[in-house]
Symmetry: D2
Subunit: 253 residues, 4 copies
């Protein structure tokens, strides 16, 4: 019986501002990418999210990002590698200490937003992230886009990596994501998303915006946590995985 | 041969803004209270400060404070206990992960500025700090003012505590510190400071602003790190300790 | 025909985090207390909110607060009077420049959250706020609680003041607000709120938590903008005012 | 008698962290680029700096930057044009209100750090800055690099512009600045800087890193405010200007 992972972004509230239904999503996903305070996530939210994740047996990942609350980490920042290294180390550490306090631990790292996109191509920032993941004393997996500079940098440092498939994002012919600023980049119809997941499980491919089928290697399936209908979408994807005979469980050891 | 600890605040720079001569002070003190990013201390500074502390065999303490960069943590904030608990846990965790990455660890916690003053009397905030120190998985000592609510709260939770003497601060008759906004509250003459330390080592007392001698129990001596002449002052105090036959070494295990 | 003002807090979103239905509320209230960026309100939100307020003929007030995004300005901060003066001046100025850019102007100032509560009693902070309002070149009214230190300080400086009644908050016998952390402090039933407004218009009194009727002097009625049902509540209060023969219009010139 | 302007960055302290000798520099320069709080400059510093500038007859410019205290505005951020527009408008407004409160006003705008460099080439960000300067109700001049996209965008909007020469920066053959990360990019020898200024006044040219002389059009000469020796350097440049028979006075009306 095949084991598959389902991940989503969580812990993205900040003080008075609440975002996403973390409580419900933690009953659906197997891995939670928890914001670490630089682009979202106040400490009390991190404590509550980690506690609930531990209760539900959900793996905790550090959703590291640029220091940019006003931009929610969605704007590229030309940080020097040494500063980015320290920023990532700080974020992983803050979340890991909180996770261990409530009986869990951080088992993987997933860059967020503009940093996620940057480390697909930006070799210096990718290397800085990989170096932080490698140097941190916790045993960590780096989760990212297949073929990205970040995953290559991690492999060079012997860090285990995990590749993800985005259930609700449109793909280009080179198996990269369509820019989310373009129309149709984000899929909102659960039925369409479920069909994509079924195709992926059946043939290992995804239909691109041009109608071609391209092969996708993956270790985890990502669903969005902060969109309207996020919980229903995640439940539909989980049902599709289980309907195909898979067990939903964390990829990280 | 008696072993005595000398502590100072370090790692208080933030980005372009530099504060204190950390490099020099890390050659003098035995314990470094390293800022954790909420009131001072950017991640790259924390990495560099921890690395240097480890090289020099200096113990690393988490200098936790209110989330207040603009106020440098020197303004009381009426944070709820649950938020303060999470804020302190986050800060300890961020520094501890960085310290362990460079081969060290956080061995104690010292509240900073207005939080230090608040937890002398503010029972709810004192309890929140003590709870965070107790819950964090690292073995931590809480460093604070003798007789403070924070140390009492820590003892109730079986957390080891350490009491500090301020070499360069004036004392009232009840063995508390003179408000630093009052004239004469901070001593700047190294000779006068050295004489106080010598009196403390000789008789276990300090002369108050009224000229009385009051008994002081202490496990560590604090010198300021961010004043002009801080390095010379720290060196003078260290020389006084060694001149009295003591070894300068961390109080924390 | 009597003219009455209805005010609400607006512009309290921050980046990705949205709060309140500003668009709808700006069709109901006559005065908008617009957050200025220190506890809420990013610049793009301020521009959009001011533009819409001008289109709707709604008066713009500066909702000034402590520098505390994480606490949404709801935590007392022991800021020095000089720093608070500068912080308030900065916030008024930022909003006023934006308002004038889109064809409006800031016509009044209303402290927010913990600052609002502090300046009821805290003479030094009240004086600092009044001094900033007095010194700023715009002609400004200070909106606050009847009998508060802030309004007294304003009157001493010859600044015009406006007093507000809270339609959906419980009152104590001394005509102050019941602490919002206590049960029943915030009223959520529109019918009950409407009846209070009708009593106020009819007899100039409000029923306290103990069942007494106390007299209330007021120039503006405040409704909350960020609660579920805020728009419906504001509409109900406005209908009550108009049903009693009043015109809803800004108090500020 | 020729009138020439001398500008420097001021007001770049933040809370406990002090930077530059503003008091002394305000006795030397004729135009002060005052930080506005996004990358540096707390409100109390802005008030004090504007007050002193007014006393000394120094023109006040808004030194606008990215929202990036940790990076001091020296890191490019890929802000959307609409957000950048609002951010710049907010910063100009905050400083202008403070300046007018103390009897002055903002008369020009100078982008800072990475934003300064970005708007040399980045058309969308340059247009956003120019749009904010144009829309703000104050009469403002945009100060920038000759030939930059920002100055072109300003001219298209009929905003007056001013071009600056950097007295202590090395130039490439195309009259742009040598990247400050390269050795020799910043000149620290006052004699060499004075000779460059004398050459500029005499022949309207500057010697490039390759030894060529290229023509420079300028309305203001910039000296750095935050380097060791900044005051002496500024005094030397001012003496050179006056020695050549020029009057040092603001370029802005």
């Amino acid at each position: 019986m095949r084991s598959l992972d389902l991940n989503a972004d969580l812990g993205e509230s900040f003080g008075r501002w609440r975002l996403g239904d973390d409580e419900a999503l933690l009953g659906v996903v197997s891995s939670a990418n928890v914001a670490c305070g630089f682009h979202a996530g106040d400490p009390a939210t991190l404590v509550a999210t980690c506690r609930k994740a531990v209760e539900n047996g959900v793996a905790i990942g550090a959703q590291v990002g640029y220091r940019d609350l006003a931009g929610f980490g969605r704007r590229f920042i030309d940080v020097t590698p040494d500063d980015l290294y320290a920023d990532v180390l700080y974020q992983i550490s803050a979340l890991d200490g909180i996770a261990r306090t409530v009986g869990g631990r951080v088992s993987y790292v997933k860059p967020h937003g503009a940093l996620y996109n940057a480390v697909v191509h930006h070799e210096a920032q990718a290397a800085a992230v990989a170096r932080a993941v490698a140097d941190h004393p916790a045993e960590l997996v780096l989760l990212g886009l297949p073929g990205s500079a970040a995953l290559r940098a991690a492999e060079e440092r012997q860090i285990p990596v995990a590749r993800e498939f985005f259930a609700d994002r449109a793909y280009d012919n080179d198996a990269t994501l369509v820019d989310r600023r373009l129309a149709g980049a984000v899929l909102t119809d659960p039925d369409a998303v479920v069909r994509r997941v079924q195709q992926l499980l059946g043939s290992g491919t995804v239909a691109t915006v041009d109608g071609n089928d391209v092969a996708i290697d993956f270790d985890s399936i990502c669903v969005h946590g902060d969109t309207p209908g996020a919980v229903a979408m995640a439940q539909a994807v989980r049902a599709a995985l289980e309907g195909a005979g898979a067990t939903v469980a964390p990829f990280a050891p």
